[in-house]
Amino acid sequence: MKTKFDFSRIMKSKITWAVIAELMILLVCLIIRPEFFQISYQESTGMLYGSLIDILNRSSEITIIALGMTLVIALAGTDLSVGALVALSGAMALKLMRWDMSEFPTAGDYSITPMFWVILVALGICALFGSFNGLMIARFGMQPIIATLVLMVAGRGVAQIITNGRQMTTNFAAFKFISQGSVLFLPMPIIITVVIFILMSLLTRKTAFGMFVESVGINPNASRVSGLRSSLIIFTAYLITGLLSGVSGLIYASRIGQNDSNNAGINYELDAILAVVIGGTSMSGGKFSLTGTVIGSIIIRTIITFVYYFGVAAEATMVFRALIVVVVIVLQSEPVREFMGKRRTMRKVAMGGELHG
């Protein structure tokens, strides 16, 4: 019974619509220019090369953040500070790394060579700020939008202070490896994303953490009475999101080999939230889907790549995005799915009636 292929269940799943939307966009690409799907092996870099790889590669910054954001949203919260933390993480990393720039001595130039420290400190500071958000929300009961707004506003300022408002560059190979390196013929960002996805899946599905998050997201009071330490769970979710923003920030900084406190992570909060919602997790908290989030993020990046590749005016991205969002969201919405479900059962009932009559 259980192994039976349950078509109606699949149709009801929110992820299904996200996948269909993604396939539709790709179909359009296929019709316009089949080369879009070309993937080749690049000798010099030892990587696979093609637009599809680009989409995966470039979506990684948002995907990684959105994975954390999924937990936050499942807890009926939001984190607006992720973009600022992306900038912060890059700033911190570059501050520690001016080592290969020594031929241009600048006052205050110093280096902590091992990558270990660079990563640890950059991620550490982001985790710290993430836990600041967590503390505000879990311990002091602030509204998430407001609590994270504080860091959204101030975070970039802190990044500027760390770097004294300067952009610094690095060609440190180990750091560049984060974005330009490759493992298994795939660019590192994709590998990092996959690893984080697996870790997050393990965390949420192989432990009871996922169920706890859903429980607290749906009914915090009842969860408390049931012995869940909801503040700890909420705190953890924001901490993870902060940490993952840091990872995303390192990838960003590594890509351009610079810190960029002004532009790094701009609007990432919106994209990450969008990815989560397109992926079928409700903003009012509760059931969540990490897979859906990944698909949501890929959809967003596909649209952007589409625009670049086909030379559409960049201004149109916004309109495109809006339309895709509307379509996906409408298809996912409760009433529409109910309506479709009802029609299906009605048809079934009608057919059954005929058979019997």
Partner: protein
């Protein structure tokens, strides 16, 4: 408490290191001159800048130094500045107004954006001539700045007009990279896949050029060789790239405007008048050197390597 002049400076924001250098230079020059400085950073928002200007009037400052974030929308507030009889010194960007005459500002000092675009175009054409490919079909891709920004509009226009003179040089793709490295990189990635042959990349600022270099490397091509790269602004990072052979040329757009501001204000205090529009002397930097590129000789090509040490931004 003191009778030193109070000079107010309304800056756009801190969107790039170029801008930071500009801010630092102007602020430092004003303070070094012994005047009181009132500085305001508009954080990329026109409304903040209008507020700041009105606030300067309230504070009764003696001079206002002003960089307009966007060309239009200043009539009302500039009228108020005029009404308050505070002399206005424009730098970097020039606001359009509907005033009958040009008595509303004292002088403008800033880059000539169309000329910068034209210089890039001239350098490209000359370069290909110098290596004997002047008559080949040359494909150019362009990374535009933030759409609608003064610098983007000017540089695009100047480049278009100049390059049109040599029909075998063609712009085959053009897309905005919003003046940022990350977007320059992403757009370049797409160019590399959607355009079959790219000879030249013209990036309307150095940040985008630097981002694009990473994308070119990832595609297994050699930046600076397989694709000739021309940037704009002449920041230190671009010099380094040129010296490393990963970039070929950058057209200067200097952020150093402090000295001129001080000079103007001192002059105004002494009752002098100034030309309404003055452009700084700027260069084109490359590694080849020695290629004459201007018809009028107003600026000459300099070797990037010789200027690295003195670049602070």
């Amino acid at each position: 408490a003191d009778d030193a002049l109070t000079v107010a400076f309304s800056q756009i924001g801190q969107e790039s290191d170029w801008r930071t250098a500009n801010t630092d230079d102007v602020c430092k020059a004003i303070q070094d001159a012994g005047w009181n400085l009132v500085y305001d950073d508009a954080q990329q928002k026109q409304e903040n800048q209008v507020k700041a200007l009105r606030n300067f009037i309230t504070q009764g400052v003696d001079y206002i130094v002003f960089t307009a974030i966007v060309t239009t929308g200043w009539d009302e507030v500039l009228k108020e500045v005029q009404e308050a009889e505070i002399p206005l010194v424009l730098i970097d960007r020039f606001p359009e107004t509907s005033f009958a005459d040009d008595s509303w500002y004292t002088t403008y000092f800033g880059g000539d954006f169309p000329e910068e675009g034209a210089r890039a175009a001239r350098w490209i054409v000359n370069y290909f001539k110098s290596i004997g490919r002047g008559d080949e079909e040359i494909n150019i891709v362009r990374l535009e700045g933030t759409t609608g920004a003064d610098a983007q509009v000017g540089r695009s226009k100047g480049f278009d007009e100049e390059i049109a003179k040599t029909p075998n040089f063609k712009i085959v793709a053009s897309q905005t990279g919003n003046f940022t490295g990350a977007e320059g990189q992403a757009v370049m990635e797409s160019f590399l896949k959607s355009v079959s042959k790219i000879d030249v990349l013209w990036a309307e600022n150095d940040n985008m050029a630097l981002g694009a270099i990473e994308a070119i490397k990832a595609a297994g091509l050699q930046p600076g060789k397989d694709i000739i790269i021309v940037g704009c602004d002449a920041v230190k990072l671009a010099f380094e790239a040129i010296v490393n052979g990963e970039m070929n040329c950058t057209v200067e757009c200097t952020p150093l405007m402090g000295n001129r501001v001080v000079e103007v204000i001192k002059g105004l205090e002494a009752g002098e008048t100034f030309d309404k529009v003055v452009h700084p002397v700027e260069y084109v930097y490359d590694f080849v050197g020695g290629i004459p590129y201007t018809a009028d000789g107003a600026a000459v090509t300099e070797l990037a390597s010789e200027h690295i040490a003195e670049r602070l931004y």
